[in-house]
């Protein structure tokens, strides 16, 4: 494959290690946390019963840690919805020459517990762009890393999301 055919334009490579969008903050409510746990079918008492959480050594009601990736999702005007239901311009800023992005996998380091009522700030950086060739043609494997920090300035988690763009 020649350079001109690459799915990764040079300006996309320049964004590695830079912030993707602005840092965002959100306060996690009990209802939001428990809705997620109900929807996942995970009824661990540490998410629902404060006494059980304290008995297990926590300082309060715990938030299911995999919720972290979703607490910053804002609503958007309906006219910004695309045909596939996703919002327009979600990937803007990276500028890959692709039409579709799929969730490829994820990794989390959980450093400290996350509690109901915590205000979490997320900073996302582009960490990797790798062009590969699969059975259905070329694709780009992108890695984004988000650092989650609580209201006490402590990093509670780091999440890495792998996406497959083609």
């Amino acid at each position: 494959m020649t350079e001109t055919e690459s799915l990764i334009p040079p300006e996309a490579l320049e964004q590695i290690d830079r912030l993707v969008g602005e840092p965002q903050s959100a306060t996690i409510s009990r209802r939001e946390s428990q809705r997620y746990a109900w929807a996942a079918g995970d009824l661990n008492p540490i998410y629902f019963d404060e006494a059980a959480a304290r008995e297990a050594g926590y300082d309060g009601l715990v938030v299911p840690p995999t919720l972290l990736g979703w607490i910053m999702e804002d609503g958007r005007p309906l006219d910004q919805l695309r045909e596939d239901g996703l919002y327009k311009g979600r990937r803007q800023g990276i500028g890959l020459r692709v039409s579709r992005t799929m969730f490829g996998g994820q990794e989390y380091d959980f450093v400290e517990p996350i509690y109901v009522g915590d205000t979490i700030t997320a900073e996302t950086r582009l960490k990797g762009l790798e062009e590969k060739t699969g059975s259905s043609g070329p694709f780009v494997l992108t890695t984004q890393e988000t650092t989650y920090t609580n209201q006490h300035g402590r990093v509670v988690a780091r999440g890495r999301v792998l996406s497959i763009a083609r």
Partner: protein, 143 residues
Amino acid sequence: MSQRYFEDVHEGDELPPMVKNASRAQLFLFSAATQNPHRIHYDREYAAVEGHPDVLVHGPLQGAWLSQLVTDWAGPKGRVLNVGWQNRARGFPEQDLTWRGKVTATRREGNRGIVELEIVETNPEGQTLVPGTATVALPLRGS
């Protein structure tokens, strides 16, 4: 939920399997809880446009299940330190999706024990949907 202690865990141990079978309503609720409007998770007709025979179980829902497999096994005083997974094949609603885990390494670290797990989710045909890993800290007996 009972507590698991580090001394009772050995390399090669298998976790009790966990079976998940998502209804379409559950998928809808997970879309809502994560503010995910992607139509492939609730609109079967549209899912066909993207080449899927049915709506799909969300990749991140399977990540939540992986985390649950580990926290349920570890017990309330266990602490999950890391989880990672890939979504290799499509999961569909109204299908038994079975989660299995195996202890691949153990080590003592101060007043707790660290356990490494290898995890796999399979569909009823035995196909791997999600391979994953987790690291969990367990208390020591009497600590």
